[in-house]
């Protein structure tokens, strides 16, 4: 994200502290000081960071409250992953369609799929990992997967708790 702040001592630290407070990880900071800037002018800082799910909004609020202007938020990458296990006739109930319906929902993407097919006519078992940008969206994507699975008579085994 690109931030704009007052050019005075302590401002950069004040902008970075909320990131670590929220459990975020700063990957890069780019700041080029304009030599012609006068005291009291504003400076631009670009930060690349990795934040836990759903903490982007509170971060922006905290920064704004501290007088730091958030100029631009870059591309949000999908960092939340959740795996579930499917059992049933996964291939013969159109696996492509199952994956497409998640991918085209705009909520999450299928990131990984591992399948074991013991014998023809016996149920297969698959581990499917979805990735998304927020807990809320991944939750809705799992709801969607549950509906698709019910249609196709597949058993979905969900995690009891969210884990990485």
């Amino acid at each position: 994200m690109k931030l704009e702040m007052k050019d005075k001592p302590g401002q950069l630290i004040a902008a970075l502290k909320p990131i670590s407070d929220l459990g975020g990880n700063i990957m890069a900071i780019i700041h080029q000081r304009d030599p012609s800037a006068a005291p009291g002018d504003t400076i631009d800082v670009q930060i690349m960071l990795d934040l836990p799910g759903s903490t982007l909004e509170p971060l922006v609020e905290t920064l704004t409250a501290q007088g730091v202007n958030v100029v631009r938020i870059g591309e949000e990458r999908l960092l939340i992953r959740r795996s579930v296990i499917l059992i049933g006739h996964i291939m013969h109930t159109d696996l492509t369609d199952t994956v497409d319906r998640i991918d085209s929902s705009g909520l999450a993407e299928v990131a990984e799929l591992g399948m074991v097919m013991p014998a023809i006519n016996e149920p297969s078992s698959a581990k499917i990992t979805l990735k998304s940008s927020s807990q809320e969206e991944i939750g809705r994507a799992i709801d969607l997967l549950r509906r698709v699975a019910r249609e196709k008579d597949l058993l979905v085994i969900e995690p009891l708790e969210e884990y990485p």
Binding site: S83, I85, V116, P118, S125, L155, I157, L160, E161
Partner: protein, 328 residues
């Protein structure tokens, strides 16, 4: 204090053995099984009854029935430990109703009446100024009801998750450890006496769901029935699915879940991290409750067995004695 017992199967015998071996201050004055009964207001010689049951299959004299025991009135607490009937709850429901109506305390291990008629039975007990206690209906030896009602009194219980069925937990443990198929593991559970000849109630998650109904109605007053529980059993699980969970450093357990605020009641196989506190082995049960003041509390213990269930029944009897009988 005098107790009368209805049912003299494994649980009934466990209670009788504990009463005769330990100095609990309890006297058994009447016993009935499905075909016979014995009543003696001065106290029965329990060793005789246990021996007669072992050799003849009868606890007493043919012709003396459960109704005779209830009507005899020679007891302070009726201990009702006949087999569960999840459909009509009978005949246990009738027995419990009669005893409460007659102003006697009742302790039961029978899930049917408590799951189907909790409100009505409790109202009856209150109107007669007696206690109905049912610790043994949920998670055998684990003092879960006592913990929720008394130990955690004043807390708001926001969620409850647990392993409520030892048979399913045994099957899943064996499928994981030895790579057994579901049917092989079920067969083994039957041979060891952990599964009934008809394992439907256990493996389809119905037994666990009945326990959730009991908790939902008694702890939160949700007034629900078995139809309100979203139930998936373990009978569709594959060894491959457990192996896939293993790749995530996880395993699969049949979990019963209550989130009262959202009225969620659910029994389903779930993926859990292997180091999760609910991942217990073999026939153990485990329950985690989430509370506002006490935080998270997990109880682990034996969910079935003759002596283990007797432990819960006896604790209920002694609780009634200490809180309600000796004071009056």
């Amino acid at each position: 204090m005098r107790i009368a017992m209805l049912g003299f199967g494994s649980v009934g015998r466990g209670i009788a053995e504990a009463v005769s071996e330990k100095d609990l201050g309890l006297s058994i004055t009447a016993v009935a099984d499905s075909r016979s009964g014995i009543i003696d207001a001065d106290g029965i010689d329990i060793r005789d009854v246990l021996e007669r049951k072992r050799t003849t299959g009868l606890c007493g004299t043919p012709g003396i029935t459960a109704e005779d025991v209830i009507e005899s009135g020679v007891y302070d607490v009726l201990v009702e430990v006949t087999p569960t009937n999840a459909d009509s709850a009978e005949p246990a429901l009738g027995y419990i109703t009669c005893a409460l109506t007659a102003g006697r305390h009742v302790v039961t291990s029978n899930k049917g009446p408590v799951a189907l008629r909790y409100d009505a039975l409790m109202q009856l007990a209150v109107s007669r100024n007696v206690q109905l206690r049912y610790e043994a209906t949920v998670c055998g030896a684990i003092p879960l009801i006592q913990a929720l009602e008394i130990g955690l009194a004043g807390n708001t219980i926001t969620a409850l998750n647990g392993v409520f069925n030892g048979t399913c937990n045994y099957i899943l443990t064996r499928m994981t450890d030895e790579g057994l198929s579901y049917s092989q593991a079920l067969l083994e559970a039957r041979e060891l006496g952990y599964a009934e000849a008809d394992p439907t109630y256990d493996v389809k998650g119905i037994d666990a769901a009945i326990k959730l109904v009991i908790l939902a109605n008694s702890i939160w007053g949700l007034n629900v029935s078995l139809d309100d529980v979203d139930i998936t059993g373990i009978d569709g699980l594959t060894t491959d699915a457990l192996a896939l969970a293993e790749d995530l450093d996880c395993t699969i357990r049949l979990i019963g879940e209550i989130i009262p605020e959202k009225r969620i009641l659910k029994v389903s196989p779930r993926v859990l991290s292997k180091d999760h506190s609910l991942v217990v082995r073999d026939t153990l049960n485990a329950v985690t409750v989430e509370t506002d003041m006490a935080g998270e509390i997990t109880l682990i213990g034996r969910g079935a067995g003759s002596r283990e269930t007797a432990s819960a029944i006896i604790a209920d009897i002694l609780f009634i004695r200490d809180c309600y009988v000796e004071r009056t």
